[in-house]
C-alpha cells in the first residue's frame, strides 16, 4: 500500500462514498478487497480430490489420515507397502510369483473386509454395451471413435471400479496417525 497521502485520500473518499452512495469506489475495491473465492476454493478442491471416500464437510487432515490408514491396513495384513517399496528387478519370476500369491490373498481379504468395491458397468468385458444419455463423465470414459449422439453402443473394455461401502475401523486419538507400519524390534 502506498504512502500516507494515498491512504488519507482513500479513507476520505470511502467515507463520503459510503455515506452518500452506499458503496465504495471501484478502484479502491479492486485494490484493497481480496477476492472471496480463491482460498476456500483451494481448500474444497483438495478436499474433494482426497475425499472420494468421505463427505466434503470433514476437514482435510482427517481425509489424509484415512488414506494413510488404508495403506496401513494393506501393509499390516497384506504387506503391500513392503512389496511396492522393494527393488524386485534382480529377482527371478518364480521367487516373485510365490510371494505375490500370498500378498494377493491377504490384500484381497483386506479389501473385502474394509472397502466394498463394485464394478461401474456390470457386464462382461469385450462384449457390446450401451452408454445411456446423461451418464456420469467421471464414471465412464469413452475411447476410440468418440462421436455421435447418446445413447451410444460400444464394446466394454474395463468394468470400472467404484467403492460401495467403507468400513474403516476407528483410529487412535493420539499420535501415530501417519504411521503405515511400526518399526519392529525383537528382544532376544
Amino acid at each position: 500500500m502506498n504512502g500516507f497521502w494515498e491512504r488519507l485520500a482513500f479513507a476520505f473518499r470511502s467515507f463520503f462514498s459510503i455515506l452518500f452512495h452506499a458503496d465504495i469506489p471501484l478502484d479502491i475495491a479492486h485494490k484493497l478487497v481480496k477476492p472471496a473465492g480463491a482460498a476456500p476454493q483451494a481448500v474444497t478442491v483438495a478436499a474433494t480430490s482426497s475425499s472420494r471416500l468421505k463427505e466434503v464437510e470433514r476437514p482435510p487432515s482427517e481425509a489424509v489420515e484415512r488414506a494413510v490408514q488404508m495403506l496401513a491396513l494393506l501393509q499390516r495384513d497384506g504387506r503391500l507397502v513392503d512389496f511396492l517399496a522393494e527393488n524386485i528387478s534382480t529377482y527371478p519370476d518364480a521367487q516373485i510369483g510365490a510371494a505375490v500369491r500370498t500378498i494377493h490373498d491377504n490384500c484381497r481379504d483386506v479389501l473385502d473386509r474394509y472397502v466394498k468395491l463394485e464394478p461401474i458397468l456390470n457386464s462382461e468385458e469385450d462384449q457390446p454395451v450401451t452408454v445411456p444419455a446423461g451418464f456420469e463423465v467421471a464414471a465412464i470414459k469413452l475411447i476410440g471413435n468418440v462421436a455421435g449422439e447418446l445413447p451410444v453402443r460400444g464394446v466394454l473394455r474395463h468394468k470400472g471400479w467404484r467403492v460401495k461401502e467403507v468400513n474403516l475401523p476407528p483410529f487412535p486419538q493420539g499420535a501415530g496417525r501417519m504411521v503405515v507400519a511400526p518399526a519392529e524390534v525383537e528382544l532376544l
Partner: protein, 615 residues
C-alpha cells in the same frame, strides 16, 4: 427364580463358544442359537466372531497405543481376551496365557496361586489358572449383559440357567475349581456337563425325533473328541427303561494333553528340517509362521483328495519381502506319515501308550502326553478303563474283554478331516473283527454337525432336556472317590502310616442321590479343623459305598484333603461323633457331609485344594 434363557457355554482349551435358547417355549419354538461375541481383533478394531479364542494377554506399557484397546463397555481394559490376544501373543509370548484350562486339571502346581504366564519374567503381573478361566467367563457375561439385557435385571446372564462344559476326564478338584471360577465371575449357580456328552446331545438335537431309529437297546457309542489341545474319550450305552430308550455314560478316559496343536507343530517341524537341509536358517518367529501355514494348508489338503501338495511360502522378514522369501511344499506324504501314521497308527488293541515320564514338573510345565499315538490311547481306554465297570453286563465286549462300540461320534476340530476319521474307524474295525464282531459301516458313524460349536449347542440342549423337553443321558460320578483312613498301627519314625481307602462315592453314583457310609463313626473336635484325606480312582469301578481297601497303590490317587471345622457354640473342645454322608446334586456337584449321630446337625466338608508334590 424363573430363568428366561438356557445358556450353554463351552469353555474350550483353544476356543470358547456360547449357545442359548428360550427356557419356556416348547421344543420347536426355541431353536438353539450361537451367539456371536464381539472382541478386539486388531488394536482399535472390534469384530463379532462366533468363537472366542481362549487366550489372555497381559499388555505392558509398550504393547499397544493408548486407547486402542477400548471395548464398548470398558475404555481401558487391564487384559486383552480373544483374537487380538492370540495374535499379539504369537509375537510376544512372554505375556500370553494359553491353555489355561489344562492347568486347571494339573495338580502339580497350586492352581489358585498366580503362576501364569508360566515362567514369564518378573515384571509381568501374574494370574492364577482359576482367575484366567474366571476372566473368560466374566467376559462372556459382560458381552451378554451389554446386549438386549441392558437395564433389565431378569435378562442378565447371572439370572439364567447356565450350563458349563468340562472335559469328562476332569476329576472333582478340577470341577470344583471350574465352579469357583464361575462363582468369581459372578455366576451364582452353574451346572457342569461333560463335553463328550454335550457332543452327543448336539447330535441328538440335530436328529430331532429320528434318533431312535439310528440306535437301539444294547448299542454302545464311542465319543472320540480330539480338539486343539486335548483328547477326550467316553462311552455311552443304550438301554431301556419303562419301555423307552435310555442313555447312560459308562466310561470316561484320562485327560490326555494331545491334540491338533501338537499335530500342526509336528508338521511345521518337518518342514523346518526340510528347509534347513537346503541351507536356510529358520528361527522361532519363522517356525511360528510355518506352524500357521501348516494349519491352513493341511486343511486344504485334507478337504481335496486330488491335490498332492500345497505351496508354503514364508515372506521375508523386514522390508526384504521378496528377497527373503522362503518357499517349500507341504506334501500329501507329509500328512500321511506325520499325522496319519504318527498320531493314528495301526495298532493292535493290546498296545498301550508309553508310560508318562516322571520328570521334574518345574521344567516341563504341563504334562503333555508322552505318546502321541491317539489310537494307542483309544486302545487303552477300551481295554483297561472299561474293565470292572459296574455296567459290565450291558457293555458289548469281545472275548479279550475289550469294549466293542457299535457306533462312533466324532467331535473336535481335528476330526473335521475325513482322512483321520476314516483311519480311526479302520483301526477300530480291525479290533472289532479280531474280537468277532462286524465292522462299523457308514451308518454307524454318527454325523456331528457344526464341530466347532457342537459342545455349546449340546450344553444348551441338555438344559432343555433337564426340563423334560429332550432326551437325557444319565451319567453320575465319573470316578470312584474314597476317604483315607489311617490304620491303627504303632508309628514308625520315617515311615508314613499305611492308609486304607474307604469308598464314599461309587463310580456312576447318579445325580440327585445320596449315600450314607455305614458302620463308621469319626470323632470331630469342636472348634478345631478336621482333615480327611481324599482319594479317587478312574480305574476301579466296582467298589461299593463302605468297602475298605488296604492295598491300592497304583489304582488310586490322592487328591487334596477335605476339611471341616465345627463351630464352637459354647462347647469348644468337646468331641462330636459323626457319620459321613455323600450326595451328588442335580448340578453335578459332589458333596461330602458329616452328620451327627442323632442326625440333627450337619456340616459340609470342603475341598482344600493345594499343590501336590511329585507322586
Amino acid at each position: 427364580m424363573a430363568a428366561k434363557y438356557i445358556v450353554g457355554i463351552d469353555l474350550g482349551t483353544t476356543n470358547s463358544a456360547l449357545a442359548h435358547c428360550n427356557a419356556s417355549a416348547t421344543g420347536e419354538e426355541s431353536p438353539i442359537k450361537i451367539r456371536s461375541i464381539p472382541q478386539l481383533v486388531n488394536p482399535n478394531e472390534v469384530a463379532e466372531l462366533t468363537l472366542l479364542p481362549s487366550f489372555l494377554y497381559i499388555p505392558g506399557e509398550f504393547d499397544f497405543p493408548k486407547g486402542s484397546l477400548a471395548l464398548p463397555w470398558e475404555p481401558e481394559p487391564k487384559f486383552v481376551i480373544g483374537e487380538l490376544a492370540r495374535k499379539r501373543g504369537a509375537e510376544s509370548p512372554n505375556r500370553l496365557i494359553a491353555s489355561a484350562k489344562s492347568w486347571l486339571s494339573y495338580a502339580g502346581v497350586d492352581r489358585t496361586a498366580p503362576i501364569l504366564p508360566w515362567q514369564a519374567s518378573e515384571e509381568v503381573p501374574k494370574v492364577s489358572p482359576v482367575e484366567v478361566s474366571s476372566r473368560f467367563l466374566q467376559y462372556l457375561r459382560t458381552v451378554w449383559d451389554s446386549g438386549e439385557a441392558v437395564g433389565k435385571r431378569e435378562l442378565a446372564l447371572a439370572e439364567q440357567d447356565v450350563l458349563l462344559t468340562v472335559p469328562a476326564s476332569f476329576d472333582e478338584e478340577a470341577r470344583e475349581l471350574t465352579r469357583r471360577a464361575a462363582e468369581q465371575a459372578g455366576y451364582p449357580h452353574v451346572t457342569l456337563l461333560e463335553e463328550p456328552l454335550a457332543a452327543f446331545y448336539a447330535w441328538l438335537e440335530s436328529q430331532g425325533d429320528t434318533w431312535r431309529r439310528r440306535i437301539k437297546v444294547g448299542d454302545l457309542v464311542l465319543v472320540c473328541d480330539v480338539g486343539g489341545g486335548t483328547t477326550d474319550l467316553s462311552l455311552i450305552v443304550v438301554s431301556e427303561e419303562n419301555g423307552d430308550l435310555s442313555l447312560k455314560r459308562v466310561a470316561v478316559g484320562d485327560h490326555i494333553l494331545l491334540g491338533g496343536d501338537n499335530m500342526d507343530l509336528a508338521l511345521a517341524r518337518v518342514l523346518q528340517q526340510r528347509l534347513e537341509a537346503l541351507g536356510n536358517r529358520i528361527d522361532t518367529w519363522q517356525l511360528h509362521g510355518l506352524w500357521h501355514e501348516c494349519r491352513i494348508e493341511k486343511e486344504k489338503l485334507f478337504e481335496s483328495r486330488k491335490m498332492q501338495k500345497r505351496p508354503i511360502t514364508l515372506l521375508g522378514k523386514g522390508t526384504k519381502l521378496i528377497g527373503g522369501t522362503i518357499k517349500t511344499e507341504l506334501l500329501r506324504e507329509d500328512l500321511d506319515q506325520v499325522l496319519v501314521e504318527g498320531f493314528f497308527p495301526h495298532v493292535t488293541s493290546g498296545e498301550l501308550p508309553a508310560r508318562q515320564r516322571r520328570v521334574g514338573f518345574q521344567e516341563l510345565g504341563l504334562p503333555y502326553a508322552a505318546d502321541p499315538a491317539i489310537t494307542k490311547h483309544l486302545a487303552r481306554f477300551l481295554s483297561e478303563q472299561v474293565r470292572n465297570s459296574p455296567e459290565a453286563a450291558e457293555i458289548r465286549r469281545g472275548p479279550s474283554g475289550l469294549a466293542c462300540p457299535t457306533h462312533i461320534l466324532f467331535n473336535g476340530g481335528v476330526m473335521k478331516a475325513a482322512v483321520l476319521r476314516d483311519r480311526v474307524v479302520e483301526v477300530l474295525n480291525s479290533w472289532l473283527r479280531k474280537e468277532g464282531f462286524d465292522a462299523l459301516g457308514a451308518e454307524h458313524i454318527l454325523e456331528a454337525p457344526d464341530l466347532e460349536h457342537a459342545v455349546a449347542r449340546g450344553a444348551a440342549y441338555y438344559g432343555k432336556a433337564r426340563r423334560g423337553r429332550g432326551v437325557r443321558i444319565r451319567s453320575g460320578a465319573s470316578r470312584t472317590y474314597y476317604i483315607g483312613i489311617e490304620s491303627a498301627m504303632p508309628a514308625v519314625p520315617g515311615m508314613e502310616a499305611p492308609l486304607k481307602a474307604l469308598c464314599v462315592v461309587p463310580f456312576g453314583m447318579e445325580e440327585g442321590t445320596e449315600a450314607t457310609i455305614p458302620g463308621r463313626e469319626f470323632g470331630l473336635v469342636v472348634g478345631e479343623p478336621a482333615e480327611f484325606r481324599f482319594l479317587s480312582s478312574s480305574v476301579r469301578k466296582q467298589d461299593q459305598v463302605g468297602s475298605l481297601l488296604e492295598d491300592w497303590r497304583t489304582d488310586i490317587e490322592e487328591l487334596s484333603p477335605l476339611e471341616v471345622t465345627l463351630k464352637p457354640d459354647g462347647q469348644r473342645g468337646a468331641i462330636v461323633p459323626v457319620r459321613l454322608e455323600t450326595r451328588v446334586t442335580e448340578l453335578g456337584t459332589l458333596e461330602v457331609w458329616c452328620v451327627s449321630r442323632d442326625g440333627t446337625q450337619r456340616w459340609k466338608l470342603e475341598l482344600n485344594i493345594r499343590e501336590k508334590t511329585a507322586r
